[in-house]
Amino acid sequence: SQQGEEDPQALSIQEGENATMNCSYKTSINNLQWYRQNSGRGLVHLILIRSNEREKHSGRLRVTLDTSKKSSSLLITASRAADTASYFCATASNTGKLIFGQGTTLQVKP
């Protein structure tokens, strides 16, 4: 079962612009994670934000978490063509089982 909704489902921007993706979830969480997937194959872990954190940065990535609204956002600044991929948020159970959102497909045009 899917954890929640991500929006937009698809996003197309020019290189250099910022990209913002949103994720909502349904249950209480320990943390929320973001993954990237290229070409429909393996996922790469990007960043993890804990439930007691509100914002986290990693390079050009900025993640926010609002537990009162059960939502998170991923911001990619100064996007590059290589950022073209699908992005998924996921919450983890105590055993680590990941429950994924629907994903946002990002296209960055050179």
């Binding site: 079962s1 899917q2 320990n30 943390n31 993954y35 429909g40 194959r41 393996g42 996922l43 790469v44 872990h45 993890l48 804990r50 998924f88 996921a90 983890a92 159970s93 105590n94 055993t95 680590g96 089982k97 990941l98 429950i99 994924f100 959102g101 629907q102 994903g103």
Partner: protein, 116 residues
């Protein structure tokens, strides 16, 4: 060291046949997960191994699906009497220690299964 590897990369089979999908986790990773990604259902959890035991099999969609792990390393996902709705990309992931919500999972490239 090497990442998570999966084989085969692609598998085409006929409806009703059995298939085996293999996952080699990162050496030393004790937790191993199988997920499935299909157009209609998105990314879904299938099963979790801690060592050779599977404390969470809740995602296996039917009794045609089974998995095992031997030597705390390689895992095999078996689908018996495949159906067209089994067509999907099957992803394996491993993490270092006991699993858990704080652990980073490292994913393999997946096996793309097509059932004709």
């Amino acid at each position: 060291g090497a990442g998570v590897s999966q084989s085969p990369s692609n598998k085409v089979t006929e409806k009703g046949k059995d298939v085996e999908l293999r996952c080699d986790p990162i050496s030393g990773h004790t937790a191993l997960y199988w997920y499935r990604q299909s157009l209609g259902q998105g990314l879904e959890f299938l099963i979790y191994f801690q060592g050779n035991s599977a404390p969470d099999k809740s995602g296996l969609p039917s009794d045609r699906f089974s998995a095992e792990r031997t030597g705390g390393s390689v895992s095999t996902l078996t689908i018996q009497r495949t159906q067209q709705e089994d067509s999907a990309v099957y992803l394996c992931a491993s993490s270092l220690a006991r699993g858990g919500s704080q652990e980073t999972q490292y994913f393999g490239p997946g096996t793309r299964l097509l059932v004709l």
